[in-house]
């Protein structure tokens, strides 16, 4: 245990450097790979990252499950779409409104979270997701129903149109960086510690002057607002939104992403999102590569095996790395450290 702790201390000194390097890579990526499709995937990943950082804060740090995160995502998207398209507000104002609206709804859903826990909370948030999905479909005048919401204008910044993948990439990842930094700060503050405590043992918290209800509600609100912002970014990027993108299935995939990435870790959210979003591309590359014989290709083409592969992929990761990828890496690190340590002793 001591080894891990010391390592963690070391990590603190290095982690900022590592964070900086990783973000540098992220920000240089478009300069090396200008394939617009790759950038498109990267933009979507960035948007999902924002949601998942919020969701991870909620689940990994506060211990509250939400299977309704896609609903906030959708509400943010529709809010922004309505404001920019029908009311001709600027995109930036619409983001603010989307965040405010989702935060408000987050409070009301969060209120249920004060009374419910575990599977009952899961059901409540799932229910919220279902209700939201129904409203997208049924409120046709506003949302366009199943046809989706058409012709959402692309955002601009000081007259500079963010109308292609390259420009949007920087917009989205700038947001990710912002969310990343603020969440890191939050986790390492008195509030972060309180959240951790609430996660582990709520009753003890009260005896230490922590108001679990207050923080649970606030974090619910914050994570809803993150999802709302992501939604607004999504609407501006796709120029088209439809209820399918915000279904319960999406919520479940978000959940898979953070669990696979690593609960309670901001990088975990990002890594999980990236890996589960890249995996279909990987399958696609394998299926279309020349290494596979045409006969197998024909079979693969006949059926949709990619989702089965996806399922197995998720299963394998969760079976072999139950604490997620970040948890696995940490364990590896600790092992490496111990190994190094033992070597040193031998040398002495």
């Amino acid at each position: 245990m001591r080894g891990i702790k010391e390592l963690a201390m070391n990590r603190n000194t290095y982690s900022k450097v590592i964070d900086f390097m990783l973000f540098l890579i992220i920000f240089l990526f478009p300069l090396f790979d200008s394939n617009e499709y790759h950038l498109d995937v990267a933009v979507i990943i960035g948007i999902y990252c924002i949601i998942n950082i919020g969701l991870n804060l909620l689940l990994g740090n506060t211990g509250q499950i939400s299977i309704g995160q896609a609903a906030f995502f959708g509400i943010g998207a529709y809010c922004s779409a309505v404001l920019t398209t029908n009311l001709h507000l600027t995109f930036w104002l619409s983001i603010c409104f989307a965040a405010i609206l989702t935060a408000t709804l987050g409070i009301s859903v969060g209120l249920t979270s004060l009374k419910l826990r575990g599977h009952y909370l899961a059901m409540a948030t799932l229910g919220f997701g279902i209700i939201a999905s129904t409203v997208y479909v049924e409120w046709t005048e506003l949302t366009g129903g199943t046809s989706g919401f058409l012709n959402i204008p692309a955002p601009s910044i000081f007259g500079f149109q963010l109308d292609n993948e390259f420009k949007y990439y920087y917009l989205v990842w700038a947001f990710v960086l912002l969310v990343f930094i603020s969440t890191q700060h939050l986790i390492n503050s008195r509030i972060g510690r309180a959240l951790q405590a609430i996660h582990e043992r709520e009753i003890t918290c009260g005896a230490m002057g922590i108001n679990p209800a207050k923080y649970k509600l606030k974090i619910f609100t914050l994570s809803a607002a993150y999802a709302g912002i992501a939604g607004a970014l999504f609407a501006g990027f796709q120029n088209y939104i439809s209820p399918e993108s915000f279904s319960v299935y999406s919520s479940i995939i978000f959940l898979c992403m953070i669990v696979i990435g690593g609960l309670g870790s901001v990088w975990g959210s990002i890594i999980g999102t990236v890996i589960l979003s890249i995996f279909p591309e990987f399958i696609r590359a394998v299926a279309s590569s020349e290494f596979i014989s045409p006969q197998i290709k024909a079979i693969l083409n006949e059926h949709s095996y990619h989702l089965i592969a996806y399922g197995f992929f998720v299963l394998i990761i969760i079976v072999f790395l139950p604490e997620g990828i970040v948890g696995g890496v940490k364990r590896l690190e600790a092992k490496a450290y111990e190994w190094l340590h033992s070597k040193q002793i031998v040398i002495e």
Binding site: L59, I65, T112, K115, L116, H119, Y120, A122, M123, A124, L126, G127, F128, I130, I131, T134, V135, V137, E138, V248, Y249, I252, L255, C256, V259, I260, L263, H303, S304, Y305, L307, I308, Y310, G311, F312, V314, L315, I318, V319, F320, P322, E323
Partner: protein, 288 residues
């Protein structure tokens, strides 16, 4: 709205509610054994349907035999599901079990589509003949089968968990696995048992509801969610609770669809469920 119509709605609601109830019972079993939620339950039901169909059409087995074979296959699948996907995660957290079950649900759903077909398939009703009339309401014969077998399953499960030693052992090992080991209960085996049981139940459910819902098709997610909702509404810890909750949800849906709005049916039903949860957070029919 005439009395016969209300009766008709009740018949429809109870039938659909029974379908949900069978899924909710699956959730209940796994919850009793592991405190986790098995999101693959819906797909296991769909799988039960298509396996029974294959037994009948490909192997040309008579219905009772096909039913029995499906039951066994369901149990075997439950066993392997637990061994391969659940056991490695048993000691980490409920959440990783849930994610495992989601992954298995995705695999099962798409495998069914690949092995059988994407469209739903016809499944003959257990007994031939037109619908039965009772005071102006018409009921399919299959509905009687569904309700009857659901009721039998509830009674059997209730007895199993509260009167047999094995059932109590499952409850005990979920509650305190170390203490369970000390009295000779193997917690792993208990979890296996609950998954086999829920696999069997899924197979039963699949084969009896298939004449109504067709075999296969994209139904798994929907009934999993409805079953889960019903179970939560009633309270996951008691078998009677989950069934009552699921039946209530089924009836609620039909009344909403008829009197308020078909489009907002799910939303309103869920909204009522949420209000019920706010008033009684542990479920409407939970004991204590």
């Amino acid at each position: 709205m005439s009395f016969s119509n209300v009766l008709q709605i009740l018949v429809g609601g109870l039938t659909m509610g029974s379908v949900y109830a069978l899924v909710a019972l699956g959730f209940h079993i796994i919850y009793n054994g592991t405190r986790a939620i098995n999101f693959a339950q819906g797909e296991q039901v769909v799988l039960g349907g298509v396996i029974a169909l294959s037994c009948m059409s490909t192997l040309k087995l008579p219905l009772p035999l096909a039913f029995f074979l499906t039951l066994i296959i369901g149990g075997v699948i439950g066993y392997f599901y637990e061994r391969l996907a659940i056991r490695p995660n048993l000691e980490t957290s409920e959440l990783s079990i849930i994610i495992s079950s989601i992954a298995v649900a995705i695999i099962l759903q798409n495998s069914i589509a690949v092995i059988w077909e994407k469209d739903p398939m016809y499944f003959p009703p257990f007994t031939k003949g037109g619908s039965l009339e009772f005071m102006g309401a018409y009921m399919l014969r299959q509905s009687l089968w569904i309700m009857g077998i659901t009721a039998a399953s509830v009674v059997a499960l209730d007895r199993f968990f509260h009167q047999t030693l094995l059932g109590k052992a499952i409850l005990a090992s979920a509650n305190n696995s170390e203490a369970a080991r000390l009295v000779g209960i193997s917690p792993f085996r208990m979890v296996s048992c609950s998954f086999i049981l829920s696999g069997c139940l899924g197979a039963i459910a699949g084969s009896i509801v298939a004449p109504l819902t067709f075999a296969g098709g994209p139904l798994g997610t929907m009934i999993a969610i409805k079953g889960f909702a019903g179970g939560i509404l009633g309270g996951l810890s008691s078998s009677r609770g989950v069934v009552l909750g699921a039946l209530l949800l089924g009836i609620l849906e039909f009344f909403i669809a008829t009197f308020i709005s078909e489009g907002y049916r799910d939303a309103i039903a869920i909204f009522i469920l949420l209000i019920a949860l706010m008033l009684k957070p542990e479920g409407l029919f939970a004991q204590e």
